[in-house]
Symmetry: C2
Subunit: 147 residues, 2 copies
């Protein structure tokens, strides 16, 4: 899938991504990179709102798992089960979120589990970057469920 | 503070709360209750987007700590340090988020710590309710910092 296609998919189905002005910066087989500007995501302190950062990380993580399941030809729902976010430093401008699998070598096992049980757990991490620094770390557990 | 005043404060300083149509349902000394409608917060599955739920919970928790610090007459910044969210069931309509302190009896100690050190940690929980059920649980660690 191309970045423009994923961006249209997010904007069409999750209106909050339009309000946040989320854009897709890059897609590889191992990672999805999303960006968002400060202005629509600002908070009381003039920095990037924590809720927006968690949402951007969730979207980057969800998108990676979604694209990898699609590449594997699986028809499934992908839902979030739990997320954890550590805020390390304030972001005073536009940010990006880069997602990656917690256990990339385990991916074949995830697909086998899904084939056998009709569901599988997919842990995904994401890092929020601002000004060349990691300012927040995200970990999410997603579940792929057969339709 | 009255609900309308908190709502205006959120809408004025965090534009995402306007996009999400967050409203303040109630404020007590122990709890803040926020609501948000499904339409601007919908996802691919036609249910409430997980990023919106985490954001609503973060706002309910932040608001409670903010109001309690204000009631205590403290001039401080309140920032989020870490959050954890467990998603228990999908929400297929409008939701509310109710926040409360993890350790309400410890509040005098929080104020003492802030007075002594110029900073204090405030753990806050929130529950998302949909259709009379708790559909997600949030825990956040906030930090009050002297200006």
């Amino acid at each position: 899938m191309q970045p423009a296609e994923l961006e249209a998919d997010l904007h069409d189905h999750i209106p909050l991504t339009r309000a946040m002005q989320v854009h897709v910066l890059g897609i590889t087989g191992e990672s999805v990179r999303l960006g968002a500007p400060l202005a629509p995501n600002i908070n009381h302190h003039g920095t990037f709102f924590g809720g927006s950062l968690a949402t951007l990380a969730t979207l980057a993580a969800w998108s990676l798992a979604h694209l990898k399941l699609q590449d594997a030809g699986l028809d499934c729902s992908l839902v979030v089960g739990a997320v954890h976010m550590d805020y390390l430093a304030p972001a005073e401008g536009d940010v990006s979120a880069r997602s990656f699998l917690v256990e990339p070598d385990n991916w074949p096992h995830v697909l086998e589990t899904f084939a056998r049980r009709g569901k599988a757990r997919i842990p995904v991490m994401a890092e929020i970057e601002y000004g060349g620094r990691c300012v927040a770390r995200f970990k999410g557990d997603f579940a792929a469920l057969a339709r």
